[in-house]
Amino acid sequence: MADVHAEHSKRHFVFVAICAIFVFVLCALVFAYFLTNRPVQEATQSHTVVVVRNPPALDATWDMTRAELRDLGYIEGENIEYVITEVSNDLETTKSRIAPLLGDSIDLVLTFGVLATRAAKEATEGSGSSVPIVFAVVSDPVGGGLVRSMQSSGNNLTGITPANEFAASKRLEFLKSLLPGAKRIISAWNDERTSGVDGLRRIAPGLGLELIDEQVADVASMVAFLDTFPYKRGDAILRASDSIGAGALSRVIETAVRERVPLIGTNSGDTARGALMSYGADYAPISARAARMIDQIFNGTAPSDIPIEEASDFDLAVNTDTATKIGVTIPQSFLIKVRYVYPTE
């Protein structure tokens, strides 16, 4: 009899024990499920980006891009590293600056201006690497041979174009409308494509302007040329919308002010720095776009799947200080067309 009871109690115990274990396991599962179901932040690995700056003109753009990346969650030192270099005088030197920086740990190359972009492209091609390249501010990338088409680059590049090859002509039109007395346009350019010099040549006569253009090899030559040019009344300088033009900006502004010659820049940044006026794409959205493209690429999209974009906001900017300095009056009828007036109050 006691035997029976003991047997029963033992069975009881075993049963209860099994139940307890079951409950425990179940709770663990439920707990784990609820845990894993929370949206988990993606494990962020660190990205390394080679940045090819193009000071001074495109530095503002670079700053804006960096700020945009931060807004997207890429904190320098935490999950992103920048290896910064800048363009040199010419293509080869720039290439030689970029090439050593490329390596397995590099996730992306960010370039500003056509020179940087071309150098980066050739450098990566040369090393057989397919590291993505995002370019900000490169005009006519298709014509320049950088990409296959606007819809798909067909290679490891993508980016945003400010369409300066078109804007260049428009600038002349605006110049003529601001300064009807303008007679000659002086433009020193380096890159035929991005500077839109073809269009300039076509348009200028129709506007009653004489175009004096000069191809230069590097910043020094551009500066030298513009510095020593014999300016007369009715002259205006059109800053070339290429990397050399960007690089030479400060010097050219100085020259323009000194010579009391109107200088037309490619974007509002130029005007902010002292150019009399500018017409071109707003670079802020370009930076935002570039940052977003970088984010997309880090999330796995291939550059060739990201169509190249054209900047959308083309605006007029004037610098009233410069106007005063060089003795130009900006009529109201022109001002109403202007988006950005510098210096800002």
């Binding site: 029976v4 029963h8 139940c19 002509s169 428009k170 605006d315």
Partner: protein, 740 residues
């Protein structure tokens, strides 16, 4: 233990089911309804998103049209404005607008009369014509036009058109603007923020091509998302696009619930014949997790709750079941113990409920039962002792006893039966008696129904026969006397017949041997006796010399003796023949009187010598009988001879014959010594000589009456006697007259 577990398990299963099944049903129903309401919510949300997107885009369009209206107003035919001034104003409007890329003004024929582009320098030769262009025709007809979204050099655009009315409201030209369509992606990007990531809202045209998307690349790449079920529905049947598609995995690999909502943007021109609408569709994708997330977590929670309920119920069941089933188990143990024979076991249940009552009544029953069993055991012991006694007795009985049941199968077979049949009890028990014992009366087999009938109307002996033949298992012949009786059927009695076999084989064989000896001896004696008789007679005939008186007396004596010996031998031979069944009669119908008279004549001298009076009474009208004269004469003369012999001098011997019915009675009475009553039974047996007779007269073989009886019985008659000691004896032979 196993059985108890079943009850246990039943409890657990029952309680668990009772608690779980309703819970599961309710949870299931709730979940289903919850799921469907979530789906409705999602659908509604999708609808709202679409409506919001449409509203925002409509607002945008209206604002653009507002600008176009301003331009149209400028180019009103009645409005006095210089073309160059108008152009300047056009440029200002273009530059100040955020979204216009190009503005063109056309006249009634469609010729472009003014155009300004944000990026391009427009020269007079760049002015073209809109004649025949769809946009122009549309504006002419409806007053407004919104063209499809297209991508040009990395930017999305769509064209707007607005009619320039004259003061009568007639068509007086149109304004066309190339509008940056980036407003659309930015609208959907904003709206996409409303849905949980990775949900999104985007817009496709009727071919499934993305025209607005939070990711501008989609628009610029003019991605075709017709593969998505939501979009596919739109492409296949644009008129019936409003529907909620099932959950699917989109091209980004996210599980979403998609819905398509046609964008209805009506642009009215008061004087237009019909509103123009746009064939665009808002696709809202909501992540499945967020739509059903709550349902899922609720479902999990329900599952968890159900399991907890199961466990709680199971725990309760285990506890409760134990409480209920333990007393039952105790009871069960009690019955098991009881079944094993442990009658002193009592169930130990102290609960006050029905199970306790059951246990108490069980115990009471157990008490009664154990007492009954004890007394039954005592009785059984007595019965067993009796049975043993019976068996011992049966073993001791020298007669074979075989008992059969109602089906005539052997149920009892004692030791003597074993010896008789040369079989073992074990081998015959249960077998039909007909297979074991076959009885023959002479050569005829005795049917089993004779000595062991299936039914008997009387209890007691049904068969009693002597000297039957049977063979034992070895084939040896046995002679038996069989007595068989039935036990009347009672309720609990299984006996059918009880047969007793007295093995008289030895006696029988001895008898036969004796008989054979006598026969042989008699035969052997005959010859010398005949010789002796002849010799003595020859001597008496004085053929070989004279004999003196004394010698004659002696020889007579000798001759008497020889004659007596011859009689004796003849008697013996007769007896022997009778016993062997060779003593037959030859019956001839004849009167009986002459035979008797002849005997009497012959006995006259003897009677006179003994001074016994012979009386005769024979009626003359006796019927003729079928008689063997010699044999019947022997019988009569034997009686008369005895009567004379055993009657003292002065006595009387009366021979009477009378007819009684169809019989003839012949009686011989004497006044002789009589026969003692104790010897009546043996009177007709072989070699019987009454003591009185022996002491009275030493002669006599004792065979006469035996033979006489045999003779009378062979005639079909009867022989009987009455006697009183010292008074007299009367022997009567009755013979039946043959039927006429």
């Amino acid at each position: 233990m196993m059985k108890n577990l079943r009850l246990h398990t039943k409890f657990i299963v029952l309680l668990t089911s009772v608690s779980l099944i309703p819970l599961v049903i309710v949870a299931g129903v709730t979940l289903v309804r919850f799921q469907s309401s979530l789906q409705n919510e999602a659908s509604k949300l999708g609808h709202q998103l679409a409506a919001t997107a449409a509203a925002e885009i409509r607002t945008f369009m209206i604002s653009q049209f507002g600008l176009l209206d301003n331009i149209a107003a400028m180019y009103h035919p009645d409005f006095p404005i210089e073309p160059s001034v108008a152009e300047k104003l056009l440029e200002v409007i273009l530059l100040r607008s955020e979204n216009f890329m190009d503005i063109a003004v056309v006249n009634t024929e469609g010729k472009v009369i003014a155009r300004k582009n944000r990026l391009l320098v427009i020269t007079p030769k760049d002015l073209g014509t809109y004649e025949g262009v769809e946009a122009f025709e549309a504006v002419k007809k409806s007053g407004v036009y919104v063209g499809p979204v297209y991508v040009r050099s990395g930017r999305p655009f769509f064209d707007f058109g607005r009619r320039i009315p004259d003061s009568q409201g007639n068509f007086a030209g149109a304004v066309f603007a190339q509008v940056d369509a980036r407003i659309m992606p930015s609208v959907v990007a904003d709206i996409s923020k409303i849905v949980d990531p990775p949900g999104r809202v985007f817009i496709v045209n009727e071919r499934g091509i993305v025209i607005a998307h939070p990711d501008l690349s989609y628009v610029l790449a003019e991605r075709n998302l017709s593969t998505l079920p939501a979009v596919l529905g739109v492409v296949q049947d644009p008129s019936n696009a409003e529907k909620m598609s099932a959950a699917y995995t989109n091209e980004e690999g996210n599980d979403v619930l998609g819905s398509a909502h046609p964008m209805t943007i009506e642009l009215y021109d008061l004087r237009a014949s019909a509103p123009s609408s746009i064939n665009w569709f808002v696709i809202a994708e909501q992540p499945e997790d967020s739509v059903y997330g709550e349902a899922r977590s609720t479902a999990w929670f329900s599952v968890f709750l159900s399991l907890a309920a199961v466990l709680a119920a199971a725990g309760a069941a285990v506890f409760f079941a134990g409480r209920v089933s333990r007393p039952i188990e105790a009871l069960h143990t009690a019955t098991v113990e009881f079944g094993k024979g442990n009658l002193e076991y009592r169930a130990s249940v102290e609960t006050t409920d029905e199970i306790g009552d059951l246990a108490r009544s069980f115990n009471t029953t157990a008490d009664t039962l154990s007492k009954t069993v004890a007394s039954l055991r005592a009785e059984e012991q007595v019965t067993s002792a009796e049975r043993n006694k019976l068996r011992l007795i049966l073993s001791g009985i020298t007669n074979a006893v075989v008992a059969v049941d109602m089906q005539r199968n052997i149920i009892l077979f004692n030791k003597a039966a074993e010896a008789l049949t040369a079989r073992e009890t074990a081998s015959v028990l249960g077998k039909p008696i007909a297979d074991v014992i076959e009885i023959y009366d002479g050569v005829k087999k005795v049917p089993i129904d004779d000595f062991c009938p299936a039914r008997a109307s009387i209890e007691g002996v049904v068969y009693n026969k002597r000297e039957l033949h049977m063979r034992d298992a070895m084939g040896n012949e046995r002679i038996v006397n069989v007595v068989s009786g039935r036990i009347r059927e009672g309720e609990n009695i299984q006996l059918g017949c009880v047969l007793t076999f007295q093995d008289i084989t030895r006696e029988f064989v001895m008898e036969r041997t004796k008989r054979e000896f006598v026969s042989i001896a008699a035969h052997q004696l005959r010859t010398p006796l005949t010789g002796m008789s002849w010799t003595v007679e020859a001597l008496l005939s004085e053929a070989r010399g004279a004999l003196n008186t004394a010698q004659k007396e002696l020889v007579h004596l000798g001759l008497d003796t020889v004659h007596r010996m011859v009689d004796l031998v003849n008697d013996l031979l007769d007896v022997s023949r009778i016993e062997e069944g060779k003593f037959g009669i030859k019956a001839v119908r004849q009167p009986v009187a002459p035979i008797i008279n002849q005997i009497l004549q012959g006995m006259q001298k003897q009677a006179e010598r003994k001074q016994v009076v012979l009386k005769v009474d024979i009626p003359p009208d006796l019927p003729d009988l079928d008689l063997d004269a010699d044999k019947i004469e022997f019988a009569f003369s034997n009686l008369i001879d005895n009567a004379i012999k055993y009657t003292p001098a002065g006595g009387e011997v009366h021979v009477r014959a009378e007819r009684k019915g169809s019989d003839v009675h012949v009686s011989v009475s004497d006044t002789g010594i009589g026969i003692p009553a104790v010897e009546f039974e043996r009177v007709f047996t072989k070699f019987f000589r009454s003591r009185k007779a022996q002491s009275y007269h030493t002669d006599g073989s004792g065979l006469g009456l035996y033979v006489a009886k045999n003779i009378v019985e062979q005639h079909g008659g009867k022989i009987s006697f009455t006697s009183m000691e010292n008074k007299g004896t009367t022997f009567t032979i009755s013979l039946s007259a043959p039927a006429e």
